[in-house]
């Protein structure tokens, strides 16, 4: 429409005025945007850059190789084995179900495996590898590789898993590894992030558990760039971890294998210790089990079979099991009495088969009595009356003191799952633990290693070694960690007079070598290899008066659980001790018949570092010995899993 020039001018002026105002607003807003941008990009830049890095970079841990465990001669006991698993990547497999069905023709898979794999694939992103089969044999892996074109998306991955080539020989020593449980994590204050890695395994028992921190090593890291959905785009950096420390044990794998084979069929424990260094050369526990089964995941059937076995295969008897030491304790009582001067080695005590103390009758194992008994005879023939007498004279406190000096009642520091403390009773202990006063009968029982006294085979071995050498030697199970030698622990000479020690040693020598010695049948022939020892037969029940009257205490007539424990402690050579051996056969009957022969075989095996010559045995036993040697050789040649069955057969 037609407008007057004045109107036009007015309109233009108004538009300019308001336009300028609006332009001002726009420019201010732009300036505000610049300010905001400056604040974010300059003041807060570092913060945002960190966030961007956090987005972009993912760290993943590389599990280190677990330290290896060797025996004293460098034989591998625990190693790492390559373990193949077959994985599938969804985005590479056009039709996962069809691919899996083709895979089934090569690798054994059941319907549950297929279902689990398909389920997991649906849940995870398309590029995440899903495990189809674990612990696949190398042959199968090779075949999968050959058929790769028909199996898109299928690849084999390799990982390390623990393996125990010596299988059941070392089950109780090195234990086994297993996956990290919530319970394991709850015990740790600041768990190593490694433990969160899926499939990571840690020591569950034995050396594997106790030396976990040495064996584990430290994690490596891998830095990768990931995109928004988590796919790895490239590797930015990689730092290899430090492998775990290798551990060398003091144990001799061949001797250990022999001990296990020799004990097979019994519920028993045996310890061989070097008397000079304290090195534990063998520490056997029977029956045993295959730790490899635990690493792979033991079936509940196998596990409950182990749990329900009355021979308790899972228990580590040498260090964890405690037994009344019986007559093997008599050296302690005698030495305490000698040191206190309450008795002289030549002094005799009359044994009538029993003794009356405070109207209670205490019996000797020999009903007819031993007649006059001096120290040597008391040990040789294991007279109980003699010890009832001297135990009363010297008192429990001195006996306990001597027991401790010899390494009883002490938890020896070995990297094993459970180290029993045993029990050396005192008056104070009884008052505290039982709420009752010490009575004289307690001293009598303790004097012959019965009553409250409890000791583990390991402790008895330490005691024997200390008696043999007069040195306060302590046991050692780990020889070196990563090449660094573990020091031998010898606290110097025991404060016991040599003549008293010699008197005890003489008695122990006679036990094996004298005509009437309780272990006379287990002597070693050959002047340079004479053995000194002591039998023990410890009751696990009270013999009732009625039984005594009937004369029924033949072990064979009793159910297994109520039979006596058979014990034998020994060292050899008697004049220059090198090895101390303890054998405990649970409910084995008499120490002289069940334990001493085993101890002699083990001792000879240790000496000859292999099969001993038959000449070391008394001539009239060589036939039986030869048969037994052949049996054991055959057994050692068998694969481990068959050995277990063979042992069951023998039992």
């Amino acid at each position: 429409m037609k407008r007057s020039p004045q109107d036009t001018e007015a309109s233009a002026r108004k538009i300019t005025r308001r336009g300028l105002f609006l332009g001002g607003l726009q420019v201010s807003f732009a300036a505000m945007l610049v300010g905001r941008m400056r604040y974010m990009q300059v003041e807060q830049a570092d913060e945002y850059r960190d966030l961007a890095e956090e987005n972009r970079v993912k760290f993943s841990l590389l599990p280190p190789a677990r330290g290896l465990i060797y025996d004293r001669n460098g034989v591998l006991i625990a190693g790492n084995e390559q373990n193949y698993r077959i994985v599938i990547v969804r985005e590479d497999a056009d039709d996962p179900e069809a691919v899996l069905n083709r895979l089934r023709k090569i690798v054994w898979l059941d319907d549950a495996d297929i279902k689990r794999t398909l389920d997991e694939m649906r849940r995870r992103s398309a590029f995440v590898p899903v495990t189809v089969a674990d612990r696949v044999a190398w042959e199968d892996v090779a075949e999968v590789a050959v058929n790769a074109p028909a199996l898109p998306g299928i690849t084999a991955e390799v990982g390390l898993s623990r393996s125990y080539p010596r299988a059941d020989d070392f089950a109780h020593v090195i234990g086994y590894v297993g996956p990290v449980s919530d319970y394991d994590l709850s015990k740790l204050e600041d768990p190593d992030p490694l433990l969160q890695i899926p499939r990571f395994q840690i020591g569950k028992s034995g050396v594997e558990a106790k030396m976990e921190l040495d064996l584990r090593g430290s994690a490596g890291t891998r830095e990768v760039e990931v995109n928004a959905v988590g796919r790895e785009m490239r590797e930015l950096g990689r730092e290899e971890g430090r492998a775990g420390d290798n551990i060398q044990l003091t144990v001799d794998a061949d001797l250990q294998a022999y001990v296990q084979a020799r004990l097979a069929g019994e519920s028993a424990a045996a310890v061989v210790m070097d008397t000079q260094t304290g090195d534990v050369l063998a520490i056997g526990s029977a029956p045993t089990f295959d730790p490899n089964k635990f690493v792979r995941g033991i079936s509940s059937k196998d596990y409950s079979a182990l749990l329900n076995d009355k021979y308790r295969p899972l228990a580590a008897k040498p260090a964890q099991g405690t037994y009344p030491p019986g007559s093997t304790f008599k050296m302690v009582t005698a030495l305490a009495a000698l040191e206190e001067g309450v008795i002289d080695p030549g002094e005799t005590v009359k044994c009538w088969g029993h003794v009356e103390v405070h109207k209670r009758r205490f019996h000797c194992w020999k009903r007819g009595g031993h007649g006059p008994v001096d120290l040597a005879k008391s040990l040789r023939e294991s007279c109980d009356i003699y010890y009832y007498d001297i135990a009363q004279r010297v008192g429990i406190e001195k006996i306990a003191e001597m027991a401790r000096k010899l390494g009883l009642g002490e938890r020896h520091d070995l990297p094993l799952s459970a180290i029993a403390q045993g029990l050396i009773p005192t008056k104070a202990w009884k008052r505290e633990a039982r709420g009752a006063d010490w009575v004289i009968g307690d001293s009598l029982n303790a004097g012959i290693g019965q009553g409250f006294v409890l000791a583990s085979p390991l402790q008895l071995t330490v005691m024997t070694a200390r008696l043999a050498t007069g040195q306060a030697i302590s046991p050692r199970l780990v020889r070196s960690v990563n090449g660094v030698e573990t020091p031998v622990r010898n606290d110097g000479p025991l404060e016991i007079s040599t003549s008293n020690l010699n008197a005890i040693r003489e008695g122990m020598y006679e036990v094996v070598n004298a005509r009437r010695g309780t272990a006379g049948r287990s002597k070693i022939v050959g002047d340079d290899l004479r053995m000194a020892g002591k039998t023990g037969t410890s009751q696990v029940r009270n013999i009732t008066a009625a039984e005594r009257a009937r004369g029924v205490f033949r072990n064979e007539d009793l159910p297994w659980e109520r039979r006596d424990h058979a014990l034998f402690v020994c060292y050899a050579p008697h004049d220059n001790p090198r090895y101390a051996v303890t054998v405990v056969v649970e409910h084995g009957g008499g120490g002289s018949t069940a334990a001493a022969p085993i101890a002699r075989d083990v001792m000879l095996q240790a000496f000859y570092q292999g099969k001993p010559p038959l000449e070391a045995y008394p001539a009239n036993q060589r036939g039986t010995i030869q048969t037994r040697q052949r049996d054991i050789e055959e057994m050692l040649e068998m694969p481990h899993d068959e050995r277990v069955k063979a042992a069951e057969g023998r039992a």
């Binding site: 538009i15 905001r36 941008m37």
Partner: protein, 381 residues
């Protein structure tokens, strides 16, 4: 002024018009679009496909359109304003009735060679319509209630239709753009005071109506507002966009991480990295300097438009130029506020830079009108 008056003053004719184009504005538009090509090349991982090449073709088409429109006298466009407005309105109703479904909203008509968003077209035709209205209206009547009601209805009709689609971003642009033309045309400030007051009332009622049967916005729009107010409330859901966008922007620093070195966009942490959030890639790769440079180009475009508008004595031309420049301003102001976490995510592209045909073509059509007004303005001999 009518075309009769143009004849008495100097108005270029024929091909001489090309010399009278606002070439500075053309160069600025090419510069801004080039920034867009560069960023689209970068977010595609250093490839012309799929975005940069397509965008260049569309830009070429848009520039051609701009020149054609610029050659046609401005009074022709003024006379076409009513037709354009009605056509846009009909198309808006059409998408409401039969539009194809995409992105959870019905927004476009498929023309075969491109998808036409009538709401985009409306941004220009509404400005034209209002400018023509105020050119026609007697200046003395501008603030009379009845004559104020007419443009309000003209604005509210398309706004209502766009809001139903639902497209909150465009609705805001339409209302604000229309309101600004009314303001420039000289409508009494009292009206604006009243509108602002009722706007506050409206916001209050929007929030109060939430969850009732009468709620004024869709649930997803409420959720966008929620996440805008507190992005950390939903870091992996809706807040993810804002959070990742801020991280990308902030991590750029002064000079950026370098061309094609932006980890946020290259590794796909950025949502819609080639469309609404392309500014974050620019800010990540070229830093504060890059972002501020683009903003400077935008402000220069505004300034050149304003100068052109103030030089023009024709009421329709002035209002049109300023209206289009304000629309342009609203595009980048809303988009940048959004990616910097100052405004909720409403889906407004970065003008001339974001990948997308409709928005770029419409803006170039708008600048074609600006050029036409510039070329055909009356000049003193």
């Amino acid at each position: 002024m009518s075309y009769l008056e143009y004849n008495v003053k100097t108005v270029p004719t024929g091909l001489r018009k090309v010399l009278y184009l606002n070439w500075s504005l053309v160069l600025l538009l090419i510069a801004v679009a080039s920034v867009g090509f560069l960023m689209l090349f970068s977010v595609a991982g250093g490839k012309m496909d799929p975005w940069a090449m397509a965008q260049m073709k569309r830009f070429a088409l848009g520039m051609f359109l701009m020149f054609v429109i610029a050659m046609i006298p401005i009074w022709f466009w003024r006379n076409m304003a009513g037709v354009g407005y009605l056509l846009s309105l009909v198309l808006l109703v059409l998408v409401e009735v039969m539009g194809s479904v995409g992105m959870g909203a019905q927004r476009w008509i498929d023309l075969g060679f491109m998808r036409l968003q009538p709401s985009e077209l409306m941004k220009i035709t509404l400005v034209m319509m209002l400018a023509a209205y105020y050119d026609w209206l007697d200046i003395k009547k501008v603030s009379r209630p009845l004559w104020v009601l007419v443009p309000v209805i003209l604005i509210m009709l398309p706004t209502f239709l766009v809001l139903r689609q639902p497209d909150l971003g465009t609705s805001i642009l339409l209302v604000t753009g229309g309101g600004v033309i009314m303001f420039l045309a000289g409508v009494s400030l009292w009206y604006f005071g009243a509108v602002i007051a009722s706007g506050v009332g409206l916001v209050t009622s929007v929030f109060l109506s939430r969850g009732t049967e009468w709620q004024l916005l869709k649930n997803y729009q409420y959720r966008r507002i929620d996440t805008f107010l507190d992005p950390s409330s939903d870091p992996l859901g809706a807040g993810y966009h804002i959070t990742q966008s801020k991280i990308a922007l902030g991590s750029g620093g002064w000079t950026g991480r370098g061309f094609m070195q932006g980890t946020q966009s290259r590794l796909n942490f950025l949502p819609e990295k080639h469309t609404d959030f392309i500014f974050t890639t620019l800010a990540e790769e070229f830093g504060f300097l890059g972002g501020a440079s683009l903003l400077t180009l935008y402000v220069l475009i505004l300034i050149f438009c304003a100068v052109s508008a103030f030089q023009n004595k024709d009421r329709f031309s002035s209002l049109l130029i300023l209206g289009i420049s304000v629309t342009f301003f609203l595009f980048f102001a809303v988009n940048m506020s959004m990616v910097m976490g100052l405004a909720p995510v409403v889906g407004v592209p970065l003008p001339m830079v974001s990948y997308g045909g409709s928005a770029m073509l419409i803006l170039l059509v708008g600048f074609g009108l600006v050029q036409s007004a510039h070329v055909h303005r009356a000049r003193q001999k």
